[in-house]
Amino acid sequence: MVWRVVKERAVHEEGHADRQRWLLGILFITLVLAMLAAAGMGAVHVPLRELAKSVIGNRPLSDDQRTILLAIRLPRIIAAAIVGSALSVSGLLFQGLFRNPLADPYVIGSSGGAVLGASLGVFLVPAVSVAGFGTTALLAFAGAIVSIVLVYWLASADGRTPVVALLLAGFAVSTMLSYSAYFLEVLDRDFGEGMHVLSSWLHGTIAQPTWPQLAIVGTMLAIGLVGSMPLTRRLNTLALGEEYAAHLGVSVQQTRIAVIVIGSILTAAAVALGGLISFVGLIVPHILRMILGPDHVRLLPATALAGALFLLVADTAARTIIAPSELPVGVLTAFIGGPFFLYLLRKARREVLS
């Protein structure tokens, strides 16, 4: 009897761990393949075969193809992966913190704050230089923190964050902050390059990044991911409510601050490259939760990979479906994410009405 139970439990546990390992493997391989495929796609077609030959053998690509790949496509592909990963993980963290599956950096307004901060950046310093981009990213981070603290303060009472309050506060703060960015535009008619950057941010277009810019944002993503790791278990405990978590020895206040800081770093990384891209942080964690269950420890690595894959596919679609012109990827994610958001809202409607 005891033996049977022990065996049962082993199978039970292994089933979960197995599933996670498989999923991580599949996601990783798919991500690599998608990156290769995306590299070949676009206005100038680079066949996969030639790409493979240049990597494995010593048959170099033509100069044109090299330039297109190294200076344009590859940075763009990496940027999309970074933005998707950062948005998804910050979505996961905010959902855990707010104990609410509808929290997403776009929905709760931290993206809006980051856009305003970043706009201030391009307004003050030229974004093209490394120092300039660094400043922009830093200001985006500041903007994200300010807005999320504001929304948190507005929306939560007694350690709970009702859906309605969260959505309303997020909507108001986000609209206010992101449109304040337009105000900057009006202030300076000679905004020039800045204006272009700004409008692409508000539409959610992944800009054509330079390698140094990618290095900065990649570092932010790395900090965000490493910083998330010790938080995942505490988010599990926090799902029981703040008071209960506190009783079990979780320092709630400290966790809250850590999640806000890490989540804002990730939001800022995403916004600095891609501006306002909606709903990614909502869709990716939700789908993974259906596969892996709600355990944040398990969800974190899968979310990071799946987010990268999701936005890479979306961005590649956005730049190829109406080639040679481009659709902002934010438009595409809004098309997919909007209905999805409404579906989640309907599922949570009982709580909304209360």
């Binding site: 599956p101 799902a239 409510g241 506190a246």
Partner: protein, 259 residues
């Protein structure tokens, strides 16, 4: 003998309402105490003070002679488990994942559950007869199942003292007697129990003593036999005279059974 938990001259109140004034009480290793009193008299507050999640305005709550103020919450949670009345869990955590949270006070920042943790979790679930529920989603359990799973989380903390807030709430009569049996078996495990109770008829026999809170008065302590008397309960619960016969009837019949 050092008491497991001691309230020493504890005073506590909320902004516009004083609840306790100079409260003195002790819980020993083998005690099984029922905390009774009318609604809003401070039963849950007293349990929270005992769990260290509320800090008294004056006086001290001591765990084995050490004031709770000087202890980290995670150290308190290794000796005292608080099982709240209502737990709302966000997301569809399974029962097993829920009970695993009871090991939080023992975990390091990056560590995973080790064999000892697993053992404590399984033991807690077997004691509460929730092992068969382990793959179910917590939010989809019935009230009775949920109550037992909450206690399993508390037991996973391997506590010396278990604080139960209204453990009989939402339970049908059959589940209530199961809960009494569970409390009995926990006493057998050497765990002290302090439970707030509404149904006085369930106390006799299952609990070794009773703490009776009445507004504005000192807390009365004694055996169930001493406290569960019409004359005492009458004033504490402020029963109207016409309701009194029922109360007398009910307590008498329980006492007679116990004898």
């Amino acid at each position: 003998m050092i008491p497991l938990l001691e309230f020493a001259h504890v005073g506590f109140g909320y902004r516009n309402k004083d609840l306790f004034n100079n409260l003195d009480a002790e819980v020993f290793e083998t005690d099984c105490i029922a905390l009774v009193g009318r609604n809003g008299v401070g039963k849950t507050t007293l349990l929270r003070l005992a769990a260290g999640t509320l800090v008294p305005n004056c006086g001290d709550v001591r765990l084995r002679n050490k004031t709770l103020r000087s202890l980290k919450q995670r150290d308190i949670a290794r000796s005292i488990a608080f099982v709240p009345q209502n737990v709302e869990v966000q997301f569809s955590f399974t029962v097993e994942q829920f009970v695993e949270q009871g090991r939080t006070p023992f975990m390091r920042m990056f560590g995973a559950l080790d064999a000892a943790d697993r053992e404590a979790i399984e033991r807690a679930m077997r004691l509460t007869d929730t092992w068969s529920l382990r793959s179910r989603v917590f939010n989809q359990l019935s009230g009775g199942e949920r109550q037992r799973v909450k206690i399993a989380l508390g037991l996973a903390q391997e506590p010396r003292l278990l604080l139960l807030d209204e453990p009989m709430q939402h339970l049908d009569i059959g589940r209530q007697f199961e809960m009494i049996d569970l409390i009995d078996s926990l006493r057998g495990e050497g765990i002290a129990i302090l439970a707030s109770m509404h149904d006085l008829t369930l106390i006799e026999g299952a609990f070794s003593s009773v703490w009776l809170l009445s507004p504005g008065e000192e807390m009365q302590q004694g055996s169930p036999h001493e406290i569960l008397r019409p004359s005492v309960l009458d004033s504490a619960f402020n029963c109207l005279p016409r309701h009194r016969p029922m109360l007398v009837e009910r307590t008498r019949s329980r006492m007679n059974q116990a004898v």
